[in-house]
């Protein structure tokens, strides 16, 4: 056994006759075609890129998940567009105050509460998308009660017109104008009471007489004129003076 160990040691050093004989004998090589096949396979593997980036999970579920995500986004966008289309369009009002800009508020927190008059501007469809309140907030409140961006302002009289109306009393007015205004006011009062349609002719006349007693001649005249329109055939023998 010791002799064989020495023999092995000698052989492992590489200088033995056996080693030399083997080197002379070992001249077979793979053919060039086989070399080319293997080298080409190695190149293809490199150009195929990293395979470990795709886990088995991503390989099997990646495409379905991507399709599902696209579907969800598409449905969501469609629903949002449908909701927007059913919302009342903002009515552009001349002189209506624009929606408060948070940035502007932050810049001038102590600005006076009186809204500054702004130049009329054309409706901006794109702006609507930006200032649209958060969809969660809209869902939390009933749809009809939800404040439309400009709905409130659209129903109110324009600030400029209101100011003009407030300025009217101080302007000099003709007697005819005063009478018309008084008649309109009286008619409005009667209509507000909801009794114009229901009042009998006698009641109309009683009211007119009452107004005359109170010295409100203009109102009485206006009411009388209205009475004649409504009851043209009514005999006015007992017409109040």
């Amino acid at each position: 056994m010791a002799e064989r160990d020495d023999e092995l040691e000698h052989y492992l050093k590489g200088g033995s006759k056996l080693s030399r004989a083997w080197r002379e004998a070992a001249d077979e090589e793979p053919n060039a075609d086989l070399d080319e096949v293997i080298i080409e396979a190695a190149r293809r593997e490199v150009h195929r890129g990293p395979k470990v980036a795709y886990s088995p999970f991503s390989r099997s579920w990646g495409v379905p998940l991507a399709l599902a995500a696209v579907l969800v986004v598409s449905v969501t966008v469609t629903l949002v567009m449908h909701e927007d289309a059913s919302e009342p369009l903002p009515v552009p009002v001349d002189g209506a105050p624009a929606a408060p800009a948070p940035a502007a508020e932050a810049q001038s927190p102590k600005a006076p509460a009186v809204p500054k008059r702004e130049e009329p501007r054309a409706p901006e469809p794109a702006l609507k998308e930006h200032v649209r309140p958060d969809s969660r907030e809209r869902e939390a409140t009933p749809r009809q009660a939800a404040p439309a961006p400009f709905a409130g302002q659209a129903l109110k009289p324009p600030a400029e017109s209101a100011a003009r109306k407030q300025a009217l009393p101080s302007a000099p007015a003709t007697p005819q104008q005063e009478e018309n205004a008084a008649a309109a006011a009286t008619r409005a009062k009667v209509e507000d009471a909801g009794r114009v349609q229901e009042m009998a002719p006698e009641e109309w006349l009683a009211r007119i007489e009452e107004l005359r007693r109170q010295g409100k001649q203009a109102e009485a005249d206006a009411l009388l004129a209205e009475f004649k329109k409504r009851f043209p055939d009514y005999p006015l023998d007992a017409r109040p003076k």
Binding site: L12, S16, E24, A25, A26, E28, E29, L34, I39, V46
Partner: protein, 192 residues
């Protein structure tokens, strides 16, 4: 094939290939193509089978490039893959692994030609010597032959042979020792 610097180790070349350098693989392949091919050729005795197994091993190395870690010498890794492929081939063709892989103490020694047979001629033609050497190698048990080929063709040490074959150091040493003894006797080698 590729004039890559011989100073670069096999492991460094394989790491380069792992990182996408195809030229590094060509250099690595050039270094080991002959040895690995002869390893299979001597073990199978058939050129067609040898080529098939040879290609399988390299393709296996190529596909596993991203998992390569230089925890051992590349040649050990290469011949470990080759050994496993050879064992699979034995199983598929013979239905079992040759018994020599189970018995480290050289079964089949009796089948070797009698080393004390007729003295070979003093001057042998190289071709005759080669033929005898190959015949003797072919007569070795598979496991011993494999140990010899791993050292001779792959340059593996005893430790590396043991790792590649999946056996202990002493088993690898025993297989190689018997193989060398028989081949030396066949060559009429006395003093090395």
């Amino acid at each position: 094939m590729v004039g890559m610097d011989r100073e670069i180790t096999d492991e460094a070349l394989m790491l380069r290939y792992r990182d996408g350098d195809a030229a590094a693989f060509e250099a690595l392949y050039e270094r080991h193509r002959g040895g690995l091919y002869r390893y299979f050729l001597r073990q199978t005795g058939e050129r067609g089978r040898a080529e098939e197994l040879f290609q399988d091993v390299w393709v296996n190395i190529v596909h596993a490039r991203r998992r390569y870690r230089p925890s051992a010498k590349f040649s050990t890794y290469l011949y470990r893959v080759a050994h496993n492929r050879l064992i699979d081939d034995y199983r598929s063709r013979r239905g079992r692994v040759p018994v020599s892989f189970d018995d480290p103490d050289c079964p089949g020694e009796e089948t070797l030609p009698d080393p004390r047979g007729p003295e070979p001629a003093r001057e042998l033609e190289r071709r005759e010597q080669t033929e005898r050497l190959l015949a003797a190698l072919g007569a070795l048990p598979e496991a011993q032959r494999e140990a010899f080929l791993m050292h001779q063709e792959g340059g593996l040490t005893l430790d590396q042979i043991a790792a590649a074959m999946g056996v202990g150091f002493e088993t690898a040493k025993s297989r190689l020792r018997y193989a060398v003894a028989r081949l030396r006797r066949e060559l009429g080698e006395r003093d090395g």
